[in-house]
């Protein structure tokens, strides 16, 4: 292990009291940050400092802190989940930053993700898209069929799993210049479209999820590919293409 090292940093953080007030960027100085700490631990340290100084701590979202729940967000130095690829904010470490560096921290910016407070945004638009069709209907009255009873091609199962790896964090929306949610919706459509269990409701699923996506005010994909680069779970653009195919099938046939 390398020698322990502490750095001093400057932070520029979006502060906003609540959804209905205007926010602005505030500057903070934070000394003695361990490079071994995670980004969120650094924010914890800042909040302790703020509390000790009788100031309002910075509100930010987090839960598992191990890269699986999708709660953490943060647009760090102009990039969703910070400078690393394939990493959520909670898995980002301070060793990626230099002593004396100024770090910009902003909430996801999207009309469909209104700011609740400081760095927290309301991502329930994703829930509503999911509720519009991101499910399969099964009979749960004691006659459930074991999922493994249905044979599935290995390639399809792999692709469905890869699509299902989406944790709904919203980084794709945050990083997209169009604020488009197509990577998320593409992943959610694909994870069912690839499986026999999902075929039954395929038509309504894609139509309803896309309709909900449009209603929520997300932008339109122009295939810049930024989402794929910034997605912490490596969700591929192929999923958007698959959704486009599914949508075409559903609307023409």
């Amino acid at each position: 292990m390398s020698a322990k090292k502490n750095i001093n940093i400057n932070l520029k953080i979006w502060r906003q009291k609540n959804a209905s007030t205007k926010g602005k960027m505030e500057t903070y100085k934070l000394d003695n940050v361990s490079t071994d700490s995670s980004f969120l631990e650094m924010l914890d340290q800042l909040n302790e400092q703020l509390i000790n100084n009788q100031q309002e701590p910075v509100a930010f979202d987090h839960d598992c802190r191990e890269g699986i729940c999708g709660m953490c967000s943060l647009y760090i130095n102009g990039r969703a989940h910070g400078p690393d690829t394939g990493t959520t904010t909670c898995q980002l470490h301070m060793r990626k930053f230099k002593d004396g560096e100024t770090i910009f921290i902003e909430p996801w910016r999207s009309k469909a993700f209104p700011v609740v407070k400081d760095l927290m945004v309301d991502r329930s638009a994703f829930d509503r898209i999911q509720q519009a069709g991101g499910f399969v209907s099964v009979n749960t009255s004691g006659r459930t069929i074991d999922a493994n009873a249905t044979p599935i091609r290995k390639e399809d199962a792999d692709k469905a799993f890869m699509a299902a790896a989406c944790i709904g964090c919203g980084a794709c929306v945050a990083t997209c210049k169009n604020g488009s949610a197509m990577l998320f919706v593409g992943a959610k459509v694909s994870q069912y479209a690839l499986l026999p269990q999902g075929k039954v409701e395929a038509t309504e699923r894609v139509l309803n999820m896309v309709r909900q996506m449009d209603e929520e005010g997300f932008g339109n994909c122009t295939n810049t590919g930024a989402c794929e680069v910034e997605c912490p779970k490596g969700i591929s653009l192929e999923n958007i293409a698959r959704m486009n195919r599914e949508y075409l099938k559903a609307s023409v046939l």
Partner: protein, 291 residues
């Protein structure tokens, strides 16, 4: 169709962008092949070939159908594209204080609407300069040829058609005096005062004069031919950037992303470089090289 809002939904708009965009790529190839004939030089033969081609393009019914499709595609593509861009702007009402998009996407992909708008402005000026003049005005003179009149002077004749192939004047009406030999080619000519439709509009000459003009643009900027040449070359660069992203993007929009994608990407990049360069060579050749 109603159930999917086939014009309104975000995905349907993308299909239309992609279909019209790809159709316009086909149009570019056709238009380029025709225009490359301008590189054959500034002489009667080359001009005649080009002018015949131009006449064919403005009169042939099949070409007409394609050209209407092209107009519709351009209008639809531009309107839909600008509409999408406005919607996309609205999807992020508060901008980031710090944004680093070059880390995750190409310049072209982020500026399709701006690039497209420049292309649209170019298409509009280009159509006013040539297409409108050709189709709706009589500002384009008929192609003429200058022949020794046997008395030490020259006389201008309008070229109407190749020997034996007269389109506007039946063969029987040919009058020996109007057969003119230049080199080993025979042209049917008529004295300069003829019905307008009986010759070939000399689009070749208009094009050459356009890019070679030494006149002052708006009466201020000298050497307008050079200005036009630079404007055309620059516009082609914008088109190239538009296609650099656009060509392969259209396939993704149509749901085609799989084993052919690497080949589509390579082809698209080659297309986006080669086609605009070949277009740009034409004004460069006319302005700087041709006689």
């Amino acid at each position: 169709m109603a159930k999917s809002a086939f014009l309104k939904s975000s995905i349907a708009k993308k299909y239309w962008m992609a279909l019209t965009g790809l159709f316009l790529c086909l149009f570019l190839v056709g238009h380029l092949l025709g225009n490359l004939q301008l590189l054959m030089g500034n002489n009667t033969e080359a001009a005649l070939q080009f002018n015949k081609y131009a006449l064919f393009m403005t009169t042939n019914p099949a070409v007409k159908l394609l050209s209407y499709l092209t107009y519709i595609s351009i209008i639809f593509h531009a309107v839909d594209g600008i509409y999408l861009a406005i919607q996309n702007k609205k999807a992020r009402p508060v901008a980031y204080a710090m944004s680093n998009p070059s880390k995750n996407s190409s310049f072209s992909s982020r500026n399709m609407a701006v690039l497209g708008t420049v292309v649209l402005i170019f298409i509009a000026t280009h159509m006013v300069n040539f297409w409108y003049k050709m189709k709706f005005t009589d500002q384009i003179p008929l192609q003429t040829i200058s022949v020794d009149n046997g008395m030490g002077g020259k006389q201008e004749f309008i070229i109407t058609a190749d020997y034996g192939q007269s389109k506007f004047m039946p063969k029987e009406q040919l009058d020996g005096k109007n057969l003119v030999q230049v080199g080993n080619k025979i042209y049917i000519t008529k004295p300069i005062k003829v019905e307008f439709a009986e010759g070939y509009k000399d689009l070749h000459k208009v094009t050459y004069e356009f890019f070679k003009s030494k006149a002052k643009l708006f009466n201020v900027i000298p050497n307008e031919g050079l200005v036009f040449t630079l404007f055309y070359v620059l516009s082609m660069a914008f088109l190239g950037f538009h296609l650099w992203h656009g060509f392969q993007s259209a396939f993704q929009s149509l749901g085609i992303n799989g084993k052919f994608t690497p080949a589509i990407k390579v082809f698209g990049k080659a297309f986006s470089v080669i086609v605009p360069i070949l277009f740009a060579i034409i004004p460069i050749y006319i302005h700087f090289i041709s006689k």
